[in-house]
Amino acid sequence: MSPAPRAQRIAGWLIRAVCRRLPADVRAERCREWTAELPAIFDDQSIRPAFLRTLRALSFCVGISWTTRQLSRSARAASRRTRNAQWRTGAMRTRPPNLAVRAVRGLLIWLVVVAVVLGLIALLHTRGLPPSLPVMLVLALAVGFDGFCLADIARAAQVRYLHKWAWVVICLVQAPLGGIMYLSIGHIGRDPSRRGN
């Protein structure tokens, strides 16, 4: 296998990976456009020696990563503007919450969960039950909740802000706060207009 096609495949894979953060309606076309530029870079005889072409392709991929970040950010801003305009005109009944509101809501839910769990442990402790029981109960709840969040991530066609795997890691590492933050920030709820269908 010659190094150029392998490098080209790796560059193509990188472009496809960073294209995942683009909105679904433009993702495929952008990905096709940028991967189609790779042969031109690898065939560019003005760049010598050959390994510099590979570096150029990698630099191209870094730029594409930056581009996808910018394009997805501007698409999100446009969609937010549209939703806010819909809310202002009354077409949408509930105001779309922004990231800060969702994060604060998630942290409040987390505090309530902590308070309830601590209260439960104290209650069971006063009843003279074995100390391992509350711990087991909390663990079972955390595992169940994490399982629910992981299943939700697996079922979701798209999640917000991070890649699906990043949310999986956050849910696993920071249980159950990670799961609460996923449901508050990363989870995309059902389209209200389709509710009841």
Binding site: A40, D44, S46, S59, F60, W66, T67, Q70
Partner: protein, 110 residues
């Protein structure tokens, strides 16, 4: 449209031959820009209707090369680009005069 340095370079390349379509890497090389600068700029120009993008038709002699997306200035883009570059050219001597103390004109001896 705010005429930045990179945008000016892209417009100059596209205006050099307005009828010639350019693909991304071609523009990157000609305007000496990075992909992270060029593509967001092209997306904005396309959104504003100043640039038109079209896919290349699959060719028999392309040796398996995937079709490229080509960019070309629209009629409106052509008009705006010429106007902006003319304005930039007319304001350049004034800018140079304004910064004359710190930035001597190319070729001048001080």
């Amino acid at each position: 449209m705010k005429l930045t340095g990179p945008l000016e370079r892209v417009l100059r390349v596209m205006l050099a031959d307005p009828s010639a379509p350019h693909y991304g890497y071609d523009l990157m090389k000609a305007a000496k820009l990075k992909s992270g600068t060029l593509y967001p700029m092209l997306a904005r120009l396309q959104q504003d209707g100043l640039v038109n993008a079209e896919w290349e038709a699959p060719r028999q002699d392309a040796a398996g090369r995937p079709p490229r997306k080509y960019y070309q200035l629209t009629a409106e883009g052509l008009r705006v680009a010429r106007l902006e570059l003319a304005q930039a050219a007319s304001s350049a001597p004034a800018r140079r005069a304004g910064h004359g103390a710190a930035w001597p004109a190319p070729g001048s001896t001080r």
